[in-house]
């Protein structure tokens, strides 16, 4: 369930745009006003605002914002204001260019979106970057990770509920056999994870548990430092339990020394209109502390304000 709340009657688009323009004209910037408008508009409304703003003032809203605000606040505002597809394209491009084995944006875009949303991200990627998403991932990622990530982001999975149970049994066996042999980047593992539909994969993982008495992720924990294994586990969790997957990403981002703002911003802006409420509940359950409190403790000023607004705080 989303945390985004939109007022029952919203002002006309012109008014929103005028308010926004006023917010950054003159000396200083009225960040609170920017936040209060943008975090209470859904994707279609934000799109309308951007279009009207560009038509009336002759410049892009996001360009104007970039000139006035900076750093992690700017990043959060921009990511939030973009369309989900453009946002995913932006996140994917950033991660592909500066790719490192712990990266999760590409995994999330490939596995925690519907097939249609992943495809929309690929189209948006063409428009923004004049290249294909898979092209950039293939060019910047190397080795086993490339072998895994390129098919993952290129997939256009069947979206329906039909499942072939005997295939699920046999593919669970294949996965088990390869994992047992420590052949983690074997073609078969990649084929199954990167092409089968979500419902087929869930059936396969269930069959794995039935046949081998423990969940597949348990067998993928052989080496805690192995980033490839961690990526495989992330892929599986995005399919089986996305709310707990995202809870963990946020928990690790907030925990320990310092805060990983990239991860925090990414999860909050990409899930606010999807299931951030469920993620909040999972966070509370796991950590006995409401997520808003944990975020407030670890972040400051405008960045904190926008995150809390997206979390549904009033």
């Amino acid at each position: 369930m989303a945390t985004l709340t939109v007022p029952a009657t919203i002002p006309p688009v012109e008014e929103d745009c005028e308010q926004l323009r006023k917010a950054f004209q003159g000396w200083g910037t009225n960040e609170k006003l920017i936040i209060s408008i943008l975090t209470h508009r859904d994707a279609a409304q934000r799109r309308a605002i951007r279009r009207w703003y560009a038509d009336s003032y002759g410049e892009e809203l996001l360009r104007a914002l970039s000139d006035e605000i900076h750093g992690k606040f700017e990043k959060a505002v921009i990511l939030w204001t973009l369309d989900p597809a453009e946002r995913d394209a932006e996140l994917a491009n950033e991660e592909a260019r500066k790719w490192h084995p712990g990266g999760r944006a590409l995994v999330e875009i490939a596995c925690a979106r519907t097939p249609a949303q992943l495809f929309a991200a690929r189209q948006a990627y063409h428009d923004r970057f004049k290249r294909a998403l898979e092209e950039d991932v293939a060019a910047h990622v190397t080795g086993d990770f490339r072998k895994l990530l390129v098919p993952l982001v290129s997939a256009y999975r069947y979206d329906g509920p039909e499942v072939n149970t005997s295939l699920a049994h046999s593919e669970a066996k294949i996965l088990h056999e390869k994992i047992h042999k420590k052949a983690y980047s074997d073609d078969e593992i990649i084929r199954i994870l990167a092409t089968r539909s979500k419902s087929q994969l869930l059936a396969t993982f269930n069959s794995y548990k039935d046949q081998f008495s423990h969940p597949i992720n348990k067998d993928l924990k052989a080496d805690p430092k192995d980033e490839f294994l961690a990526t495989l586990r992330a892929i599986i969790r995005c399919f089986t339990c996305p709310d707990r997957y995202f809870e963990k990403v946020i928990r690790l981002a907030l925990g320990g020394m310092g805060t990983d703002e990239n991860d925090l911003t990414r999860v909050i802006t990409t899930r606010a209109e999807v299931d951030l409420k469920v993620i909040k509940e999972a966070y509370l359950k796991r950590n006995s502390v409401p997520l808003e409190r944990a975020v407030a403790k670890d972040t400051t000023r405008d960045y904190e304000d926008i995150l809390l607004a997206l979390l549904g705080a009033e």
Partner: protein, 320 residues
């Protein structure tokens, strides 16, 4: 009577050729009405179709199967033509995946359609078969050396604009040459090479055209020469991506050759239907350049009946 018999034999696709000559067959019905001895003479003079015993002529199983295929050629063409292009491509791809058809059809569909046409085909595939196209291709090609290439080709959603980074194209032309050397002519090695697969399955078509130009500059040979006879799937992919018109003209020639097998002959219908609205005029021109004859003339000579007329209509002709 000898002439009539020969005409009717040819009408039944008896001396080779594609399709059947429906109107000749129908005239024979009228001409030979109430003359069973004419029919009997026809059977005795047509050993491919009928095996003659002393009292009875028996039809041969093999020829009956051949007839089924030849009579169906026109029907298959019309049905394929009537379908939505996306459904058409989905069914063509599905054919390969579930019967032992050559991988060429999948390569053709994946590489010669635009990015959005390929997406449409993938959507249609899901709606028809409840699996994703890449899922079925990956499963079917599991242990083949061309598996990764094929899956990558059908999963691609290539950038369609003209912008090309010349430096990258040149570097990738070098990389392709290095891969060819690495493979050393060993069967199946080049098609499974990671760099080759990456470049062919992700780069835009414009980029690939530039890359192949640089390949010739740097290595002194065209990339098709280095791929010929070593790796059919790879060669097909390269041609389909960078020179589809040439590829299609070659497919037509192979289907019109004497002794062409069924797959090659079926390709005629496929190419005629799928390219008629697109680049058939260019294909005709390429055919003339490569083979020194007019495509429509060869079709007219080799095909019969409604199928011939249908092919000619789709293939078009100079001045139409």
């Amino acid at each position: 009577m000898g002439d009539e018999v020969q005409q009717l034999t040819r009408a039944f696709s008896g001396m080779g050729g594609l399709g059947v000559d429906e109107s000749t067959m129908v005239s024979a019905l009228a001409q030979w009405r109430k003359q069973p001895e004419k029919r009997s003479g026809f059977r005795k003079a047509f050993p491919d179709f009928f095996k003659s015993h002393s009292e009875i002529d028996r039809s041969r199983e093999e020829f009956m199967l051949h007839l089924v295929a030849e009579f169906a050629r026109f029907k298959n063409l019309m049905v394929l033509w009537a379908m939505h292009p996306w459904e058409r491509d989905a069914r063509l791809a599905h054919h390969m995946v579930h019967q032992a058809h050559p991988a060429a059809i999948v390569v053709e569909v994946a590489c010669t359609r635009s990015a959005d046409e390929l997406l449409g085909a993938r959507r249609a595939y899901q709606a028809l078969f409840h699996h994703s196209l890449e899922e079925d291709v990956a499963y079917r090609a599991k242990d083949k050396p061309y598996c990764n290439l094929l899956v990558g080709l059908v999963s691609a959603y290539r950038y369609e604009g003209p912008r090309v980074n010349e430096d990258v194209a040149r570097a990738e032309a070098k990389a392709l040459g290095a891969a060819v050397k690495r493979a050393g002519g060993v069967a199946g090695k080049l098609v499974a090479d990671d760099e080759v697969v990456r470049i062919l399955t992700t780069r835009s078509k414009a980029h690939l055209v530039e890359t192949f130009k640089y390949y010739k500059e740097i290595h002194g040979r065209r990339i098709e020469e280095d791929l010929a006879r070593k790796d059919d799937t790879l060669l097909e992919a390269v041609l389909c991506l960078a020179a589809p018109v040439k590829y299609f003209s070659q497919v037509m020639e192979a289907g019109l050759r004497d002794g062409a097998d069924n797959h090659a002959k079926d390709a005629l219908t496929r190419v005629a239907v799928t390219r008629s609205d697109a680049d058939m005029d260019d294909i005709r021109a390429a055919y003339q350049d490569q083979f020194g004859a007019k495509l429509e003339d060869v079709v007219a000579a080799k095909a019969h009946g409604h199928y011939r007329d249908a092919l000619l209509s789709l293939v078009g002709a100079a001045g139409k």
